[in-house]
Amino acid sequence: MIKKIFVWIGYAIVSLFFLFPVLWVFSLSLKTKAELFEYPPTLIPKSPTFDNFRNVFQNTSMWRYLFNSFELVVFTVLGTLLVAIPAGYAFSRFRFKNKQKYLFLVLVFQMISPVIIGIPIYKYYASLGLINNYFGLVMVYIAVQIPFTTFLIKGGFDAIPKEFDEAARIDGATRFQLLRKIIIPVSLPSIASATIFTSINAWSQFLLPFILIDKEKMFPVSVGILLTQGNYQEISTHFVAAASVISLVPAVLMVIFLQKFIIKSLTAGALKG
């Protein structure tokens, strides 16, 4: 019993450590300006109000940013799956020379920061007129996502016994039919986790839109919030807090609902490389 109590105290400390910053901005986002300046500050707002959220939606392009991020996420997920599924299939089901080396090469790309590829890409895009172009931006997002997603999907495909394939092949199915009718449906969980991770990453992506987009109406949330932080004065921290809450809610909701999934695929991905 004593051990249990210690564990619970540990749970309380750890959760508080992780949740406190989020709770604190949430609390600020519900405070009035007068209460913002009160000392000592309290975690529970005395007269909670949604006015700050209203202000953010009225005075910044927050709706626009959210919609832009959403659009970028959707196209990135679709594009990434379209590329990573066939690649994962090839790595899972074909035997060919130097396969391990190619896989390693894909892994190497994952380790390279977008800052590095952002430099030349900015240069080409500027000369090709692709600055402020979502197609161009999504292509880079997809490229950034491909390595991890390919590994994740290959892992899912590897878990399907090869006998499935053989049975279907004897029945005369082409590889394409096999993939569409058997492999993809059976490995939907790994495709779902690929979707989750790609969405979270695309939502967080900052540097690429920061350098490749300079039209304010086209900013995703990550860049928009920086602008919001800069435009509001220090004394409007309650508005910045509201804007932060708006931009972190989608990711946090995803975690709450898909917690099991995320943990499982995080660990599976890491263990298999």
């Binding site: 249990k4 564990v7 540990g10 749970y11 750890v14 450590f17 992780f18 910053p21 989020v22 604190w24 901005v25 913002l36 300046f37 000392y39 000592p40 379209l82 066939p86 690649a87 090839a90 074909f94 060919f96 390693f104 894909v106 190497v108 790309f109 380790m111 390279i112 920061s113 977008p114 800052v115 590095i116 430099i119 900015y122 500027a126 292509m139 490229a143 082409t174 590889r175 394409f176 939502w203 967080s204 540097l207 949330v221 990550s222 919030i225 920086l226 932080q229 921290t237 910045v240 932060s244 972190l248 946090v252 995803m254 975690v255 917690q259 943990i263 995080l266 660990t267 890491a270 263990l271």
Partner: protein, 288 residues
């Protein structure tokens, strides 16, 4: 029928991936390499080939300063994410009521976009009344701390925010590894009369070692590539005190418009990332 035949070839399936990685990774990488030997600038088309950017970067004190900052930022982040991650992993592995809640809170911190992490912590570090950390500092009887405004404190502050963000990931990984340790090992040790402390040092840690090593490399790479939370917190300042390697790379190109120098820094980043990756793959091979 023809297309059926074509689909029997493995490389057909890889074409989309190779095309995209080729255009958006390989070609840019070669280009960065090329640019690092030029004096190119943003907004100017002519350039000459030169080694001078390398010479400038390597003879300038700025590089050593940036490497020191990067080393401290990455080093402290990795050590604390690892230790705190192990601690939380062992706690949730007790599987008491509430463990799921702890897991959710850990991953929540991890999925908060880096930029928002920076914005949120900047609010908490403030010296104004809403700066909750300074509220606690004052409660303990100290003067309010200029968390983001003196070089030493600023580096501490960006590192702490990064530890907060990354510990969840590290903890979840180690939790998975803990669960994979066979229960029999502990039972056998209990029969031999080992206490919890001995079990931790003789069973848990050795069994966990492979995952800890993998974790070290992964966290090192992630932290090394981090720029967004630092950017939102301090923009690399005051002065250059929180300018890590990825930030100076960004600044050289997009603030000072110096493509050549930025590319030299980028090459340096590639070299370091490559080293980490090779270590990582060696560890993976050993595991399999």
């Amino acid at each position: 029928m023809k297309s059926g035949k074509l689909l029997e070839r493995w490389w057909i399936w890889l074409i989309p991936m190779v095309a995209i990685l080729g255009i958006f990774y390989l070609y840019p990488l070669l280009n960065v390499f090329f640019l690092s030997f030029t004096n190119s600038e943003i907004g100017r088309n002519d350039f000459v080939f030169t080694f001078s950017k390398y010479v400038n970067v390597f003879t300038n004190d700025e590089l050593w300063h940036v490497l020191k900052v990067t080393f401290l930022f990455v080093g402290f982040s990795v050590v604390f994410q690892l230790i705190l991650g192990l601690f939380t992993a062992m706690l949730i592995n007790q599987n008491q009521f509430g463990a799921t809640f702890v897991k959710v809170s850990m991953i929540s911190a991890w999925v908060v976009p880096g930029i928002i992490t920076g914005v949120v912590w900047k609010i908490m570090y403030s010296s104004s009344n809403w700066g909750v950390i300074n509220y606690f500092v004052k409660l303990l009887g100290f003067d309010s701390i200029p968390f983001l405004y003196t070089p030493g404190w600023a580096l501490f502050s960006v590192t702490l925010a990064n530890i907060w963000r990354g510990t969840g990931f590290s903890g979840i990984m180690q939790y998975a590894a803990l669960r994979a340790i066979p229960e029999q090992l502990y039972e056998a040790a209990s029969i031999d009369g080992a206490n919890s402390w001995q079990k931790f040092w003789k069973i848990t840690l050795p069994q966990l070692k492979p995952m800890l090593l993998i974790n070290v490399i992964l966290i090192t790479i992630y932290t090394f590539n981090t720029y967004d939370s630092v950017y939102a917190l301090t923009r690399g300042g005051p002065g250059n005190s929180t300018t890590v390697l990825s930030l100076i790379t960004y600044k050289s190109v997009f603030k000072y418009l110096d493509l050549g120098t930025g590319s030299v820094y980028a090459i340096l980043m590639i070299g370091l990332s490559a080293t980490f990756t090779i270590i990582y793959s060696r560890l993976m091979k050993k595991e399999n």
